[in-house]
Symmetry: C2
Subunit: 354 residues, 2 copies
């Protein structure tokens, strides 16, 4: 690798002049000098050494990205959106960490990041408290937290970008109620998280406020283990079998996410239930493949692109202006009706279809 020395030598100038063109301070150079330097850079294929730069300036154009697992298509999608935007819009690179929903791992990665001079991290976590994150924040790392509503704990200094999960839960349940369902279920893996709690809250609220009495139950499946996110569909499958075996089984099911919904539909089918004729299903996330399942999955869309961009923008802002106060940005989900919802088997459709 050529160094700034090599460039200076070739262009017959001092290294500070080279540094000046590198940092856009061209007003301090005579045009022809600048030109000569540019050519030398070209010729040598010189790339400034970021490590040296970081050492000097203390800043690194890199954002840390912590996700449960990119093996989960939804997180893969967000990761792609984040990385591409960070790169094209701000020239920042992304360091990827799969946390597998492991708190200790998460904390360690946050620490490691600081070691690399990474000044901001985007955290797609699932833990309710942010204790382990606050250490990192105290050390000066800017953290952008995804999908955890603020105010749950002391989270001064942490940015929050989140979808209105209460609304998401409400939207899903209401859609089912509008189709005449009166026995509803919300299904998810075992274990409460902030975002799950809020989805449930919205789900229950819609049921509670319905004109006619609606039963609404929450089913927890197996917990996600170690290499977790590939299990989501399995958990859904088991839940599908379980629901099918139930007496007075729910006719309308809301799932915590689409991957689990795909598993659920498979499990239901394996147990002899048809979707949507016997059981209607509403997923969440509206991942790309949701449109291609059989039947196509009705889902609650989270505005992935805008949220991804907001997170990156915040991360960059917190790096360039460390004193900027943390913000809370809420985004609205939207129902995407497809074919996995129909009126329940016995019931007559109530007049009030959506």
């Amino acid at each position: 690798m050529a160094t700034i020395q090599d460039v200076a030598r070739l262009a017959k100038v001092s290294i500070s002049s080279v540094s000046n063109v590198l940092n856009g301070r061209t007003e301090r150079l005579r045009p022809d000098t600048a030109e000569r330097i540019q050519q030398a850079i070209q010729l040598l294929g010189y790339r400034p050494n970021q490590a040296a730069r970081q050492l000097k300036t203390g800043k690194m154009p890199v954002i840390g990205l912590l996700v449960p697992s990119t093996a989960n298509p939804f997180y893969g999608q967000i990761a792609a959106a984040l990385e591409s935007y960070a790169q094209t819009r701000h020239g920042y690179r992304v360091m990827l960490c799969n946390t597998h929903r492991d708190r200790a791992l998460e904390a360690r990665m946050l620490e490691d990041l600081s070691g690399f001079g990474v000044a901001a991290a985007i955290l797609l976590s699932s833990f309710d408290d942010e204790r382990h994150v606050e250490d990192a924040v105290a050390r000066g790392l800017a953290v952008i937290s995804y999908d955890r509503a603020p105010g749950t704990a002391g989270n001064r200094g942490i940015d929050h970008v989140y979808a209105d999960n209460v609304e998401a839960g409400r939207l899903a349940a209401q859609h089912l109620i509008d189709h005449g369902h009166r026995r509803l279920a919300f299904v998810m893996p075992a274990g409460r998280t902030n975002s799950r709690d809020r989805k449930i809250q919205g789900f229950l609220r819609a049921a509670g406020q319905a004109a006619e009495p609606v039963s609404a139950q929450v089913y927890e499946g197996r917990a996600i283990t170690a290499y977790g996110d590939s299990e989501l569909a399995d958990i859904g499958y088991e839940l599908g079998q379980r629901l099918a075996a139930e007496t007075a089984a729910p006719t309308g099911v809301v799932t915590v996410n689409d991957t689990l919904a795909m598993g659920l539909m498979a499990g239901l089918r394996a147990a002899g239930k048809r979707v949507p004729e016997d059981v209607s299903v509403v997923g969440m996330d509206n991942m790309v493949l949701a449109a291609f399942t059989s039947p196509p999955l009705t889902s609650i869309a989270m505005p992935v692109e805008p949220m991804a961009q907001a997170m990156v923008d915040r991360a960059v802002l917190r790096i360039t202006e460390p004193d900027a106060p943390a913000e809370q940005l809420r985004f609205d989900p939207a129902l995407v009706p497809r074919e996995s919802v129909s009126p329940p088997p016995a019931a007559q459709p109530s007049g009030s279809r959506a």
Copy 2:
């Protein structure tokens, strides 16, 4: 951030002693000194500055990972496997780049990586030639190329880790032939790549070597555009409609990957064809969700974990031993039969079922 100085001061030793424990040269320390240093490190929450270390040693414990897009579930899965293994096994971090199958982007990212002191990159590309990569290699970057068979071009110095795609194509076609299919199709997006070519080669070979005459055709859909990988399913959908409209339509279809297969099944279904009763489908990649489609998708499994680990191991080796010669590692695919394949509508199953 605490520095090595702070630690030395607190432990009342010189910085070189601290450096020695940091780098595991504990045999040069008295146990109690080492112990004191450890405590100081703990107390201060000290993390060595990687930039400074890199500047000194020229090495950085980071691997570059270039994928078309983690929004494609298959690449998301590989990315997760790679990152987790690199981290837990070797303590290496991963810098992620979504190339969107854009050659210029790919080249630029490779350059950037060098600027960060990243000494090895894993490249999941789709371009046949490796011209743009060779510049990077010449500059000293170790490149591990995925799923591109060696020998296609001058690729000295580039490691290759790939699945036997010819065998994958053969396996898929043979499975269909064994079920009695005599009109086969291979479907994919427009545009040839090395891995697609090899899959087709195997597909055609199986058809050509069948005991009875088998027609085998290749269908190219629309090309993947810019933000491409989320389109794969769309392309499959269109292809499904197109196949369904065909007179003497193929009864057995092999798809270049599972995501496209999901789209294909949806398109077929929308056009009134049933899978597998009217059309049998074999996907490739055996992604997690393949087991949960309706019907569950028969697929050709690529050994993702072993391949991911091999790539990371190679990358680390090439960093630690720059003189190690490049290697070519081939992995064998395997058929995973599920329910998307049955005998063709009219035909009697031939005796020779798999």
